[in-house]
């Protein structure tokens, strides 16, 4: 029982990190109908920036999260500007290929010796792990930090998207670009803003990830990226609450598979889910008639 509880909490932690990545996939898809395959690599770069910030640049954990978010927001805007905007009205496949190209470029560029280098690095998180037992629930301070920060960011995002002018404009653009233009909305700016937002969230996810899984390398974004993408599809791509729901499910499935079946299966299960969702319910759990999309 204790073990199951522990696994569920581990799954929750993982699911919340996936949620931060999945939101970027879903928001970008919602607004330009593009799967930004480079998004997992933004997560990776966020993890590295955070690591540098708290290890070498003297930042606290919060400072590291913040600086990773800011730099990755800029990176996200650059990626959109260079790799996607010129192809915005080209056939969908062109942008998709461009996305794969950006992803590979970031991975191999970051592997260069004078960038991050190709090797694994073991991270010394700025927070020491402490185990607690809260009324029979085994939990660590890091798990609490991760879940708390993610929930805080989700609340901020919710407020931004549903309560502010720019958030309303994001939803308007996601529904109809030309109609949004006729309102005086600068659609290019809103799209860039969406990339900035999604990338910043992924960066925060990257830094938090290093607290729980203190090992980083230039290809570390691939698996979490694919799983978060699967989670976004599972919840209903383009739907913000769907990304969170899908991620929480993914987190549980993955941890429970690893704990009770076999840890070699954990990645395979993720893709099995993707295939089943695509076959049975391609619009996802909350898709069609569910909450509005962005």
């Amino acid at each position: 029982m204790e073990r199951l509880l522990e696994q569920i909490i581990n799954g929750l932690q993982l699911g919340f990190v996936y949620a931060l990545i999945a939101l970027g996939y879903t928001m970008v898809y919602g607004i330009i109908k593009l799967i930004n395959f480079a998004h997992g690599d933004v997560f990776m770069i966020g993890a590295f920036i955070g690591y540098f910030a708290y290890t070498f640049w003297g930042f606290s954990l919060w400072g590291a999260v913040l600086i990773a978010m800011i730099l990755c927001a800029v990176l996200g805007v650059l990626i959109e500007r260079i790799a996607y905007r010129p192809l915005r009205y080209a056939p969908r496949i062109a942008a998709l290929i461009s996305a794969l190209g950006v992803s590979l470029f970031l991975e191999y560029f970051c592997s260069l010796k004078f960038v991050f280098g190709p090797n694994f690095r073991v991270v010394q998180p700025p927070v020491k792990q402490i185990h607690w037992n809260l009324g029979g629930i085994p939990i660590t301070n890091i798990q609490i930090i991760i879940v708390a920060v993610v929930i805080l960011l989700l609340l901020v995002l919710q407020y931004l998207v549903y309560r502010t002018k720019i958030g309303t404009a994001m939803r308007a653009v996601s529904f109809d670009h030309d109609a949004a233009r006729l309102m005086g909305i600068n659609v290019d700016f809103i799209i860039a803003f969406t990339f900035a937002l999604g990338s910043a969230l992924a960066a925060a996810g990257g830094v938090l990830y290093t607290l729980a899984y203190p090992q980083i390398h230039p290809f570390m974004g691939i698996m979490p990226g694919l799983k978060a993408f699967t989670a976004a599809v599972l919840g209903g791509i383009g739907i913000i609450p769907g990304a969170v729901l899908g991620s929480l499910i993914m987190g549980q499935v993955e941890t429970l598979t690893a704990a009770y079946l076999t840890s070699q299966m954990r990645d395979a299960i993720a893709f099995l889910i993707l295939i089943i969702v695509l076959l049975v319910r391609p619009s996802g759990i909350l898709g069609r008639g569910g909450p509005e999309k962005v």
Binding site: R171, F175, A180, R181, L182, M183, N186
Partner: protein, 239 residues
């Protein structure tokens, strides 16, 4: 107020507009009538900056706006109610209206505009919290018009506002267009419903396969035999 000069627009290799020219004076209702596919929507989309012409010019109040981005053109005072309304069904009625005021940063002014729109369209006020997609066709047209008025345009472009509406609803919409014009907004009205459009317009242009084939005061255009047969549904006398 607005001058369109020798506009040529292509979609790929298809030419949609062949050097069309026309003018709109301050305070007028001008109508652009023509059959389906004549190029009416293309004309409006070009004025609004959604489509770029291959050649020709659009001049608004002395400024060449041919290359100005669409979102800036709204700021300059031209709003468009597009064909098919294109309301944001995923937003509430109020959010739709606030998007119409996107270019306006003064909160108090936006509040005043909202009140003005609710005065013209009282039905929208009862539904502000509702998702726009749940409105009836007539209400959606009202929302689309109210939304465009939220930017306080000096020139309003209307693309087939009567499309898909019941005759009573059409009467109501045209009444509102007249009122909007009385209150000082210049109107360019695109219609397939030529009969109604010619009743409220001051001047008219007739567009046929991308060319302006006839222009003049609305009364004269209405009495033109060719217009009567082609657009007003009267039988031609064949001798």
């Amino acid at each position: 107020m607005l001058e369109v000069k020798d506009l040529e627009v292509f979609y790929g290799s298809i030419q949609a507009l062949h050097r069309i020219s026309f003018k709109i004076n301050e305070g007028e209702i001008v109508t652009l009538i023509g059959a389906n596919g004549a190029g009416k929507s293309t004309t409006l989309r070009t004025i609004s900056g959604l489509v770029r012409p291959r050649s020709g010019k659009v001049v608004f109040r002395g400024t060449d706006i041919t290359q100005v981005p669409a979102h800036t053109i709204v700021r300059m005072g031209i709003a468009q109610v597009p064909e098919g309304r294109r309301i944001f069904s995923n937003l509430t009625v109020l959010e739709n209206l606030l998007m119409g005021a996107y270019t306006r940063n003064n909160k108090q002014e936006v509040e005043e505009n909202l009140e003005r729109v609710f005065k013209s369209f009282p039905r929208l006020k009862e539904r502000i919290k509702q998702l726009a997609g749940t409105l009836s066709g007539g209400e959606q047209q009202m929302l689309a018009m109210g939304r465009s008025l939220m930017s306080r345009p000096s020139l309003l472009l209307l693309d087939e506002p009567s499309m898909g509406l019941s005759p009573i609803m059409v009467e109501e919409i045209f009444e509102i267009i007249k009122n909007i014009n009385h209150e000082g907004t210049t109107v360019l009205l695109v219609e397939q419903n030529a009969f109604m459009a010619l009743q409220i317009a001051h001047r008219a242009y007739v567009l046929e396969t991308g060319r302006i084939v006839l222009e003049g005061p609305a009364k004269e255009v209405r009495d033109n035999p060719r217009v009567r047969t082609a657009y007003l549904g009267e039988l031609a006398f064949v001798s």
